[in-house]
Amino acid sequence: MVYHTDVDCLRIVRIKKTKAEGSRARTLAFDDENCRKAIPGQFVMVWIPGLDEIPMSISCSPSNEVSITVEKVGQATEALCELKRDDQIGIRGPFGNGFSIAEKGCVLIAGGGTGLIPLAFLGEKLIEFPVKTTFLAGAKTKDQLLFQDRIKSLTRTSETKMVVTTDDGSCGLKCVVTEPVKKLLAKKRFDMIYTCGPEPMMHKMFLLSEQHNLPLQASLERFMRCSVGMCGSCMVGGFRVCQDGPVFTREQLHSVEIEFGHSKLDLDGRNTKI
């Protein structure tokens, strides 16, 4: 496989529009030709000039609007959330493989927190195909639940069912998102499971897929530096999350079971507990 393209060149883009997503996140829309070709699950490196560069999941709406959604978790994400229309950021990417799209059958999507960012984009792609989707969206609280509007609109235009869970019960079912998944898998067979969210949650999803012998794709997160497969900062086993992932199949995750769900490389290269 040859990766050599201009996607890894740094481009400066201006913020076209911003939108609050619940209490802690913002969506920043901008224009970029390479990002319009993005596949759900791919990511971009976002440069906040003079501060930092961080990996962010990329979305492209059916109307070709490119955006990232940022939750405030540290200095760089806080700075991004402060940005206004016409402010400049740098973009490299999209990088990584992205989800492989199921073109028919019954699909289960389960995500939590910011894991819903690539999954909402995925849900919007799937409606182009004759797919029956069950979309489970979870968060800690109602005001941290992302994209209720986008996911709800899928249920109106396609054969998509939506289940919402919150840890505190402020919206939908009061449980973690994997609880309704367990019940669904006990009575129904799915042709593909997609998941993204906190790693312990994805690990539960992985174990469920093993138990029911169902195909799974999970999108992983690691510290990233180069994002072009060179520096080795994002290794999980022998995989480079930036180039071989970030989306991995059940079989691939099985081969790195010692690390997946348990530990990750810290910035100094030491394996640390998740």
Partner: protein
């Protein structure tokens, strides 16, 4: 075709002359294993020091017109942790060379000793990282200090010792001679060139550390000149490094005098397949030219 690709390098036997360059992957034994499986003749680890380092803030890498610019900042887990990775990498099927850096003679010696004790097949002394103060190229630009460190390490370890040199000097020949006098067993030439990138739209330097090292195709002809000069002026085997991505690059470095070549940046543009692709190309070249072994072409351009 059946042409011989195996080479001998300061006592190490390599199945082919391609090696993974330091700093590329190489932070874990599993990443080294992956590179070995991809066909590299030997692997060099990320540079390891006495204590863990988290490296610089991003951006740590930016693409330029003719390569990449990086300032990772020597992130590494420290030798105490890395000993286990070296031990685990002993079964990957090719020699493992541990890249060592230090902020003093004593640090170089201690890290080298411990790496050697747990099974490093050779050590590559990082006299050339261009973006961390008080080590790397700041040492490599001082031939006397370079010689002192090489000598001190050689005194304490039995494994072969390579000196990786910086091109950011008035005379790389002087540095190579200093390494030779210090008892180094081979020279790796060259590391990245100190450089920077500024973005016009935002008016800001891009790298978190402002300064970094330039790698990739931009380096090739500088590196080739360095290898040629060192081959002419010293007796040490040379490992060519800098902008090698195709078999033709590798062959040119060997004609200039390199006994083996290291590949780094090309892993991003070509993928891990780059090792097999270079080796296949070298083998075809040898067949076309009527050579039996890749060893026959080392330094050949000096005899014209």
């Amino acid at each position: 075709m059946g042409r011989e690709l195996n080479v001998e390098l300061a006592g190490l036997r390599l199945a082919n002359p391609t090696m993974l360059a330091a700093g590329i992957l190489g932070m874990t034994s599993l990443s080294l294993r992956r590179v070995a499986e991809a066909g590299a003749g030997a692997v060099v680890t990320k540079s390891v020091g006495l204590k863990p380092r988290r490296g610089y803030m991003n951006p740590t890498l930016v693409k330029t017109d003719c390569g990449y610019l990086n300032a990772m900042g020597l992130p590494n887990p420290g030798i105490g942790y890395f000993e286990r990775e070296i031990r685990e990498a002993k079964t990957i099927g090719c020699p493992i060379i541990v890249s060592v850096y230090g902020f003093s003679v004593e640090e170089f010696v201690e890290v080298a000793k411990r790496a050697s004790q747990v099974g490093a097949d050779a050590l590559e002394l990082n006299f050339s990282c261009p973006h961390v103060e008080k080590t790397g190229s700041e040492i490599g630009q001082d031939p006397r200090l370079l010689k002192t460190i090489a000598k001190a390490v050689k005194k304490e370890v039995d494994s072969p010792v390579f000196a990786k040199l910086t091109p950011d000097v008035a005379s790389i020949i002087e540095c190579a001679r200093a390494a030779e006098q210090g008892g180094a067993d081979a020279i790796t030439a060259i590391n990245t060139v100190r450089a920077m990138a500024i973005n016009a739209e935002t008016t800001k330097p891009i790298l978190g550390n402002q300064f970094g090292g330039l790698s990739g195709p931009a380096l090739k002809n500088i590196a080739l000149r360095c290898v040629f000069e060192i081959y002419r002026e010293t007796k040490l085997p040379i490992i060519g490094c800098g902008g090698i991505s195709r078999w033709r690059d590798a062959v040119e470095f060997m004609l200039a005098g390199a006994a083996a070549v290291q590949v780094g940046t090309a892993i991003s543009s070509i993928g891990l397949e780059v090792f097999r692709s270079i080796n296949d190309g070298i083998e075809a070249y040898l067949a076309t030219k009527g050579f039996d072994s890749v060893r026959e072409i080392v330094g050949l351009s000096h005899r014209c």
